[in-house]
Point group: C2
Chain length 323, copies 2
């Protein structure tokens, strides 16, 4: 069964979502950001999680879209907080409209995300909503840590990994957990799937960090080395700083957190240190560790092996992607 079988299931539902009409200045930005596209990984994960336990995916389409609306809400507010001009190559909402519209449209999106969950089985509703809310708060915590790290001089690798767990991985985990619960799984299986998703999410984000430095400019779609230019404390940089000898530490100190006359030279100098320290294979090893750990959780889920195949396939796609 191909991944497109599942994507097709929710694509129409996503296009048909109604967020509201008046005032248009409140609702048009929601349609805009939801229309910018993206990988739509989260609803796909929910349907794949449900399909481990049921063939009846129809009732799961609408709740599966909750995490996609929530994810886009976080993008909308994060872009404003980060003052990002572009999202998927288009103007961000605060640029196209204004910051106040971005705040308020985002607020309504969070409300709409909740609403997508209210039709699920009454006996699951409170539990699912508690888990969704906990996840939502964790995503906010992750974003706050991420912003805090920008101005903190000492960020440990453990802190960084916890930040990406909160900011990115827990929502992927919840998307899978949600699908499992709605598909009729046990709480235990739902939790294994959640942990599978968290592991894939961590690996996915580290892959993102790696692509930023070692990706191919043509396929990556973003400026290669952007994290280095903006002094972002990624796993690569934090590991390099922890392992650098005095000479390498001096090179990093000369470039990171300093005004940049020549961005390309900065990227080259920092990447040279990464290369000397084998940061790339070390990162790839950590990605692989998370991946293998995630797979162990998937293996423990009581569902037919055949049905786990699309989840394997998606996980591999996410980790081997070049963009």
């Amino acid at each position: 069964m191909d991944l497109s079988y599942f994507t097709d299931k929710f694509s129409a539902g996503l296009a048909d979502l109604r967020y509201g009409d008046q005032p248009t200045s409140l609702y048009e930005p929601i349609r805009y950001i939801m229309g910018l596209g993206g990988k739509r990984i989260r609803p796909l994960l929910t349907l794949l999680g449900a399909h481990l336990f049921t063939d009846d995916l129809g009732p799961i389409v609408k709740p599966a879209l909750a995490t996609e609306v929530f994810h886009n809400f976080t993008l909308l507010h994060d872009d404003l907080m980060d003052q990002a001009p572009l999202r998927r190559g288009q103007a961000t909402v605060h640029e196209k409209w204004n910051p106040n519209v971005a705040i308020l449209s985002g607020d309504v999106m969070l409300v709409r995300a909740y609403e997508l969950l209210f039709d699920i089985q009454p006996e699951l509703l409170a539990h699912v909503l508690r888990r969704f809310s906990q996840t939502a708060a964790e995503v906010c915590e992750g974003q706050q840590w991420d912003m805090n790290f920008e101005t903190e001089t000492e960020v440990s690798i453990a802190q960084y990994l916890d930040m990406i767990r909160l900011k990115t991985a827990v929502l992927l985990g919840f998307a899978l957990e949600l699908g499992a619960l709605l598909g009729g799984s046990s709480r235990e299986d739902a939790d294994h799937l959640r942990q599978f998703g968290v592991g894939i999410g961590l690996a996915f984000q580290l892959r993102d960090d790696l692509l930023d430095v070692y990706g191919d400019a043509a396929t990556f779609g973003k400026r290669v080395g952007g994290d280095i230019v903006s002094d972002k404390k990624t796993y690569l940089l934090l590991t390099a700083q922890a392992q650098a000898n005095p000479t390498q530490r001096a090179v990093l100190a000369r470039h990171i957190g300093q005004p940049v006359p020549d961005a390309d030279a900065k990227v080259q100098a920092v990447r040279a240190v990464y290369d000397e320290l084998d940061i790339r294979p070390q990162t790839e090893e950590l990605i692989n560790d998370y991946f293998l750990d995630a797979l162990q959780h998937l293996e423990r889920v009581a569902a037919p092996e055949m049905r786990k195949k699309p989840l394997h396939q998606l996980a591999l796609q996410l980790l081997e992607r070049e963009s």
Copy 2:
């Protein structure tokens, strides 16, 4: 039974609310704004609504706090959007911390508001959450209209009344409806109570508009005439503009939307036009109409008259207040 009987019921619960710990930059602003005080009308309305139908208010305290947390979330984001420096005489969150903290802390508050509702009876949960979400979206719509009106030249009185209904009144209505539902009322009675609350909310906001112009500076606690100085399109101004003769229209046009060399002179000139046009008694009449209409809905609720007394008392307090 005194109103303080009900206030005492939820005060401890409000003080005991836990929003989260880490990062402190995310959660400290929530404790700060929730600690600034306020009239706490919304949880009071929920308990009064429930008490029409039950004596067992214990399980209703926690859900009753949802609208208070939600209300403070809207204040937090609204203050940022309005660039207000002060809230209840203290620095606003975006001033004390920064705009990004205000955005993200507000987002988490919305999540926490939802969480306070998840323990209610499973058979009511979906319905209550749908009504809460609808109300939450309407409050956002009201704020967006309010911001839109700042730059629109033509705002009708009907549009203004609809804006304050959305921005202020529907949440008071929902607080009562929530109490009724949790207390075991019929859907019909819950809806009458909702409409009672909406009417009181409209009257309450018009009273606010009136106090801004005709309040006593000592008891009002805010600068009298602030709405006139800031060109706010209130019911008073819109009615005056609609009823002004050419001379009065010229006076208004000379002062509204113009740079102000002398704020006091502006307030005096605009108030003089209001006085000539009897704007104050006209506003008082509309307040009274809303109040009487609200009371009719309260009368139709199938509950003992004795139990309706505190709601009468609170409504009167809100409408006769001087601050």
